[in-house]
């Protein structure tokens, strides 16, 4: 046993602060963390084009025309309190700016259809809502918070992102941003 395989074939340790095995393990760990980190994954940012919504099998009817219109795309859920609080603001936006070229579109991430339908029935928003039941769209967009509201210009480019809903501050900012985008030339 003393002159067995382990003692005769052991590779002598390499001198230095970073032997090969430590370096390899460190690189493997760093690569793994980098690949799996949420920060490393693509996230919809200001300046990015809005993905084609029709390819994500959303439940419900998408607006027939989004091109050429300013779009407020809101990711919400029935279990999210701030989402509920944001609905009156979104309704007001749609009512006040719809004729001028604004479309508010709600995308629910509810896994429960009953919860989604109950919420929509209760709040009866004037803007269209769809359900991302399989989370296909939200996984691409990677909404950082609930709710997350994207303000998209007439060319389909994300111009502003609202993470969460912060009451009057968010409402005022949304109105200003939508007004400015509607004022831009098509």
């Amino acid at each position: 046993m003393m002159n067995g395989v382990g003692s005769t074939l052991r590779v002598p340790s390499r001198p230095g602060l970073f032997p090969r095995w430590r370096l390899a393990a460190g690189l493997a760990l760093a690569a793994g963390l980098a690949l799996t980190s949420p920060l490393a994954r693509a996230q919809l940012k200001v300046g990015d084009p809005l993905p084609a919504l029709s390819q994500y099998a959303l439940e419900g009817n998408l607006p027939s025309v989004l091109g050429g219109r300013v779009v407020v795309l809101d990711f919400w859920a029935s279990w999210c309190g701030p989402c509920k609080a944001s609905f009156p603001t979104l309704v007001a936006l749609q009512n006040d700016f719809g004729a001028a070229g604004l479309t508010v579109l709600g995308v629910s991430v509810d896994e429960s259809r009953a919860a989604y339908e109950g919420f929509v029935r209760k709040h009866a928003p004037v803007f269209p809502t769809v359900r991302d039941a399989e989370h296909r769209l939200v996984k691409v967009v990677r909404a950082p918070k609930m709710p997350t509201t994207y303000v998209i210009d007439r060319h389909g480019v994300v111009r502003h992102i609202h993470e969460g809903y912060h009451g009057d501050t968010s409402a005022k900012l949304l109105r200003e941003q939508v007004s400015a985008l509607l004022a831009e030339k098509p």
Partner: protein, 83 residues
């Protein structure tokens, strides 16, 4: 002889420590966070810290007996992490 050759091969080319660390690294990066859109379950009533008033009162009593202070334990809402 065959077994000896296999073990020696592994020992020389990779090293047991390297393999153990690689396994640790792989298992370490297997952790993942709950995304904001996946928190429906965390918002249920069962996840509220104050879901059971009796258990809350008993916990508060124990805390007071141990620390001679009370209160300041309230947390609003559950775990949706919104805003």
């Amino acid at each position: 002889m065959g077994r000896r050759s296999f073990r020696s091969c592994l020992t020389v080319r990779f090293g047991l420590r390297s393999m153990a660390l690689a396994a640790l690294a792989i298992s370490g990066v297997g952790c993942s966070g709950v995304q904001p859109w996946e928190r429906a379950t965390l918002t249920t009533y069962a996840m509220r810290p104050d879901r059971d008033p009796l258990a809350g009162a008993m916990g508060e009593h124990i805390y007071f007996s141990r620390e001679s202070s009370a209160g300041g334990r309230g947390v609003g809402g559950s775990g949706c992490g919104c805003n």
